[in-house]
Each structure stands twice: as structure tokens, then as C-alpha cells.
């Protein structure tokens, strides 16, 4: 490891780099285009944070989701990464103008792909030296992938307009065919490709089917009792998160709450921090939870229902066991869940919804609904409503194919992990009793016990003030 890389690493509070980080950072600093495929939780952020601190000028980071952007800004501000800003639709005109006027003073600029196409933004960026363009979640560029965003198709052209700076594309999910598309679309030259296995050997991949919905709930309760340590339970719906949080509110040894996009921002923030801090140890959540949450000791992640894509599933379970210790994950579903998801993926948004969004795209810009987000993205990429309806019809094929991959995974006769790795064109560990299938008591017995932290009880505002304002004396 180069001395200056080590120095930055220590400044960010780390002692060592994880597998893949050194190779990627070295290649970026050598001026190469790089495609990095790293599993969730393996430290993709440092792959651009360290080069960004060492290179002159701006590091531009393209992110597909507002929530992800916000989390990255907060983390980077916390780690002292220099001036960081997120350019997105939540900024009003005056704030946007103020930021663009001083863009060159920022070290890291996070931006959505749609905003990057705006003339005023592009103009400000071309006037500022951009040394590195990072395309996070680069698999969004793949038109036949489940997370496709039309604006990602323009990134290659935009890169040229920015002076053809080096590009670092990062993703956790990229089969070989997708890697080729990423390289081509981003106009990568002689790219260095680091493709780690996306396998997480420390995670048990539980897959359990039950005839009735009620049995799924019972199984959740049983696992919450047997497993000690923080747990995330991904639910089918906002309603289910609240229902289950109420159902298990008095489970001995557990402090539960729910989290979804319908909870107001301050409450969501409190619950997230309390989960990270240990004040809560059980969260019933929708996919709105977890972006940027880097809690190392999550011992269990349950996914209730059948996911529409293996990418969604992989991202959810990836939040378990980031400390490298054994952790249990389980996809628990009922027979009805298969048909629920099948119906969901075959539903097309009505043309009236497309028209409503086109009439007031700004009003839908911050929706957390994936279908609405995609239509907004098409609008920002200047598709006509008719073209959007046609594109959405075409995507039915994509969604069906993704769902078939999920069913293949669920019904794998030999090894679920092997089926998952085949989907991502990745190597995985050989099948053992600690690999996958029905969650066994034997595996649960191998889980480490959580560290017992002494928790202070804060009763009354005066006691809280003494703590937070350091007036104990």
C-alpha cells in the first residue's frame, strides 16, 4: 500500500484495506478506468474516497437514489472528507445557483444522472476540474436489467463533455454480460476490472416455504426468540411492518420498532440511529431501510415474501454479518407470496399514471415507489409518454426473466447459494450444512453472542442535557 493511501486510510479511521480496495485504488490513482464489482458491505466508498482526497479537483459521484446520496454525504462529512455536496431535485433554484457558483470549492459532488444532463450543471462542471467520475450502482446502465435508469445511457457522452476524466464504475451485482455493457456505455478504455466474488460465506442462506401466511409470522417469532443480537426483518408492505412490530413488541429480550417511508423523517432518523447504537435491536422494515446503514453486528436478516429480483434479495441480506462473523439470513414465504409477486411484476402502470406524472413530474420526484421513480427517470431523459408506455411494456419481459431467476433460486434442488452465484456469474463456497436451506438449530448454535453493552437510562431532560452538553460536573 502506498504511503499516501495509508495516510488517508488512517485519517478515515481504518487500519487496513479490505480485499479489492487496494487493487481498485491503485488502478484509479494510476489513471486507469476501473470497473469494481464488490459485494455489499465490502467498502466500495473507500475505493473513491481515498483517490478523491489524493487527486486534484472534484470527484463526481453519480448515484441513482436520493436516499443513497444523502447517506453518502452524511458519512463523508462525518469522516472529515473535505467539502461534500449533493446536487439533486430537493435543492431550490437559489441554493442550486449558489452551489454551482462555488462548485470548484467542493471535493466530492454527488449527483443524480438526470441532473448531470442539465445545461447549467454541466456548464459548472466543465469549468471546474473533474479528476474522477464515479458511477455507483453501475448496473443501472443495463437496459435489460431490473434497475435500469434511462439517464445512465447518457453517462458516456457526459463523460466526454467533462474532458474524459478517468471513470470508476462500482456495483455489487454484475453478471458478465452486464459488465460488457457497462464498459461500452461508459466508453471505458483498457479498463481494469476487479470482480470479487459476491458470495458472503459467513451468511447462512435460509430458504423456507410455508403453506399459510400465519406460519410465516410464527416462524419469525421463533427465530427472534432463538437468535440473539440485532435483527432486520424486511416486510412486504408498510402495513406488515407495523403489524409485526406490534405483534412482537413484548418479546422478551427484544426492543422492536418499524421503519418505512410513511414514517416522518425525524422519527425515521431516530429509529435508524437507535438501531445502529443498540437502543433498538429489532427493526421491521421495508426496503426504505438500510441504505448506507453500516452496522457490523446484525446477526439476522429475514426477508418475508418473495422478492421480484435476486438483486433486491442480495442487497437486503447483505446487511447481515458485516463483522465477518456467522449470521443467519432467511427468505421466508408462503405459497400465496409467489402469486402475489407474480401479480405485482405483471402489473403495468396505467397510461393515466404516466400522464399524471408527466403533468407534474416535480411533484413525483421524491416518490419512493420504484415504478413511479422509473417513469420520472424516463421523463427526465426526455422520453414521450407514448415511448414510456412502450418501454414499460418491453420491461415486462425483463421483469418476468428476473422473477424466473428468483423462482430458480427458491426451488434449487442442490444448493441455493450455487443458484444465486450462477445468477451473478460469481464463485461461491462449496455446499455444507452451514450453507443454505432450512435454518437449523445447529447453525443457530454457531452464532456469536452479542456483546453486552451497558446502557444508560436517561430519565428527564436535565439528565439528558448533562450528557449531551457535557455538564456532568
Amino acid at each position: 500500500m502506498r504511503a499516501e493511501v495509508a495516510e488517508q486510510l488512517h485519517k478515515f479511521g481504518y487500519q487496513n484495506l479490505r480485499p479489492g480496495q487496494d487493487e481498485i485504488i491503485t488502478a484509479v490513482l494510476a489513471g486507469r478506468d476501473v470497473l469494481g464489482i464488490l459485494p455489499t458491505g465490502s467498502g466500495k466508498t473507500l475505493c473513491y474516497q481515498i483517490p478523491g482526497m489524493l487527486l486534484p479537483g472534484i470527484t463526481l459521484v453519480v448515484e441513482p437514489l436520493l436516499a443513497l446520496m444523502r447517506e453518502q454525504v452524511l458519512r463523508m462529512q462525518a469522516s472529515g472528507a473535505g467539502r461534500v455536496v449533493a446536487l439533486n431535485s430537493s435543492l431550490d433554484k437559489a441554493d442550486m445557483r449558489a452551489i454551482l457558483a462555488t462548485l470548484a470549492t467542493y471535493k466530492f459532488v454527488f449527483i443524480s444522472p438526470e441532473l448531470l444532463s442539465r445545461p447549467d450543471v454541466l456548464s459548472a462542471l466543465t469549468r471546474s476540474p473533474v479528476s474522477l467520475m464515479v458511477v455507483d450502482e453501475a448496473h443501472c446502465i443495463y437496459q435489460w436489467g431490473p434497475d435500469f435508469r434511462p439517464a445512465y445511457l447518457r453517462l458516456g457522452d457526459l463523460r466526454v463533455q467533462l474532458g474524459s476524466c478517468r471513470v470508476l464504475a462500482l456495483t455489487a451485482t454484475a453478471p458478465i454480460s452486464v459488465r460488457e455493457v457497462i464498459g461500452r456505455q461508459l466508453r471505458m478504455q483498457n479498463a481494469y476490472v476487479y470482480a470479487a466474488s459476491v458470495d458472503r460465506p459467513e451468511l447462512f442462506l435460509g430458504v423456507e416455504e410455508y403453506p399459510q401466511d400465519g406460519q410465516v409470522t410464527d416462524r419469525v417469532g421463533a427465530l427472534l426468540t432463538q437468535v440473539h443480537g440485532p435483527a432486520i426483518i424486511y416486510c412486504r408492505s408498510k402495513h406488515q411492518t407495523e403489524e409485526l412490530a406490534a405483534r412482537f413488541a413484548h418479546l422478551a429480550g427484544r426492543k422492536c420498532n418499524f421503519y418505512h417511508a410513511g414514517v416522518d423523517e425525524h422519527s425515521r432518523m431516530l429509529r435508524e440511529r437507535q438501531f445502529i447504537n443498540g437502543g433498538l435491536d429489532t427493526l421491521f422494515a421495508t426496503s426504505a431501510f438500510g441504505m448506507g446503514v453500516d452496522k457490523p453486528d446484525v446477526r439476522m436478516v429475514l426477508y418475508l415474501g418473495v422478492p421480484a429480483t435476486l438483486e433486491d434479495y442480495q442487497q437486503a441480506i447483505g446487511r447481515a454479518g458485516r463483522d465477518g462473523q456467522p449470521a443467519v439470513t432467511a427468505l421466508i414465504y408462503s405459497e400465496r407470496d409467489v402469486s402475489r409477486t407474480a401479480q405485482f411484476i405483471s402489473a403495468l402502470p396505467a397510461p393515466s399514471l404516466v400522464n399524471a406524472i408527466y403533468r407534474d413530474a416535480a411533484g413525483y420526484a421524491n416518490s419512493d415507489d420504484a415504478q413511479i421513480q422509473l417513469i420520472v427517470a424516463y421523463h427526465q431523459a426526455h422520453f414521450t409518454p407514448a415511448a414510456v408506455n412502450a418501454a414499460l411494456s418491453e420491461r415486462l419481459t425483463v421483469r418476468s426473466k428476473s422473477f424466473m431467476a428468483v423462482l430458480d433460486f427458491l426451488r434449487a434442488a442442490d444448493c441455493h447459494r450455487a443458484a444465486l452465484m450462477r445468477h451473478f456469474d460469481s464463485e461461491g463456497m462449496a455446499h455444507t450444512d452451514a450453507c443454505c436451506g432450512h435454518v437449523t438449530d445447529a447453525f443457530l448454535a454457531t452464532l456469536p453472542e452479542p456483546l453486552r453493552r451497558s446502557r444508560r437510562d436517561f430519565t428527564g431532560w436535565q439528565v439528558i442535557f448533562k450528557q449531551i452538553f457535557n455538564t456532568q460536573a
Partner: protein
Amino acid sequence: MISLDDILLLLLDDQPQRPLGLWGVITGRKTASIMFAGLQHQQLHYFGLLAGLSKPDYLAAVQRLLTAKLLQQTDEQVWRTATGRARCAQLHGMAATLASYDPELNVQQFAPRFFLAVQVLSEASYQQRQYVPLSADWQVQQYVRRWYHGTRAELADTVQELTVIFSQLHPATADYLAMLMIGHEYVGSGADQDSPLRRELALCDLLHTIESRPASAWQRLWGGRISLLPPAAAQTSAEFLRGASVQELVARKHRRISTITEHLQLAAIMGQQLPLDRFLSVQQQAVLATAWAGGQRTYQELLAALPGVEFLQVRMFQIMMYRRQNNAR
């Protein structure tokens, strides 16, 4: 636990009104027709109280009140029944809590600034420069950063001011607000008792106390009361008061006449003293006053008393009368 159904029952009127009129007021929709309905039914005090309340959730609550016979309806209007009024009498505690709300306090803007400011002061108290800020909003961060630069030399004094302010709050309110804070090695507590409305009302109590301390750093953080009148409407009103006619304003501002009349109505509803003589002659005012004294309130009834006048003229008369009536109560 603050129940939506109880809140709506308290806010709705004993006089018939379109239910979506109240929804528009409490979710902060600033159109002349919504604000007029709010004025008519004395609901403007609760403007923006439940900004995030969806229409389906609101209508579901209204339906529950109808089913429980606490409301009655005819055509498209609802109002309280005798049972509903009796239930309201039992809710006097909640009514007192709601009374602390004041839309001019601008609590929705103050809240993220306040909690971030507390976090900043907390971490500074431990000389901690690296922490995850609780708000990623650029505007909030910039605002608090500027405030902190003007405050950090008096960190201890600023903390002491907040302590004094909290000591003046009801203890339950102070405890509750403290449980929502984020600070050094503290991430709040009791989140299961939190609700956006409860938080909003507690912050209103805090702001009433901050308002009584104009020299404090916390007053500077807050920034003071705001006018609910949109800037464009305020400008139209100011030019009207300087003598411009409606037609002159339309030409000068390149706006539609409906926009200018909307501005004037909003200004009048929100308390600007637009002389009625600019809209109606003395004789016309007398005719409408007689009709009003006879119990005629609606636009149609008043127009029937004075045929040939325009909508704006009748509406400005109604606004003046409702404001007088509400001020007298």
C-alpha cells in the same frame, strides 16, 4: 395518544362545511377559497397543522365520525351533532394542547434547524469535530453553520440559555423534547411515543418561550415569526394600498385578473386592512350589511340582495364581516 378522529372533531364546525375545506387548511393549501373557508369556520389558526395528512386518511377519519354519529351530513357538507359537541366538551385537554399551535411560528422550518443545532453544540461540548450530522439538507446545514459561527464563542452561555428555556416549559414537554434530541453518545429515547403532531405542538411551546427571550441565540436560530401571505400577494396588496386599481395591477404585473383578485382576497383574509370603500360604495355596503344582519351569509344570498356586483366585491365584504366577527369572539 393524539387521535386524528378527535382532532378533526374539535376542528370541524357546528355549521355545515365541505369537509375538504378543512383538509385544505390543515394541510397548508394557500388558495383564496380554502383560506376563506378557514376564515368562515374559524379554522385558520390551524393552518398547516397536519401538513402530511393524506386526503384518503382524512376522508376515512371523517367517515368514521359520521358512522359514530359524531358528525352529520347533507349534500356535500358535514357538521357536528349534539353527540359530537358533547364529545368535544370532553376533549378540552386536547383543545388546550392544540391552542399552542400557531402557523406563524414556522415550526416545520425550525424543527430540523433546532435538532441539528443541538447536535452541533453537543459535539462541540466534547470537542468532537467528526460526527454524522442528523440532517443532510444543504440549506439546513448552511443555516446552522452560520448560526454556530456566530455562537461558538459563547457555547456555554448558549447551552445555559437553552437550559433556562427548558426550565420554563411544562416538565412533560421538556422531557419529551429532550427524548427527541441527538447528541454526543445519545440518540434519543422513547421513540415509540413520538408522533409528528405531538412533536410539532411541543416545538410550538418551545417557540413561544423562545419568543419571550428576544436577545437569545435561540431566537436568532428561529428567525422570528413569518407572514403566511405569499410574497407576490403581499406586493400586490401593497401596490393596491398605494392606490393602484385591479386593472392597473393586471397590466403592470402581466398577470391574469383572477391572480390579482386571488392576491387581494388572501391579503384581506390574512389581516391586511384593504379599505372596503375601494370595492363597494357606501350605499352598496349598507345593502349588504342589511342582508348580513338578516342572516344572509352565502355569496348567492348576498348577490341576490345586490344584483350586478362582481364576485370580488361580495367576497371582500364577506371577508371583512367574518374577520370582525372572529375578532369580537
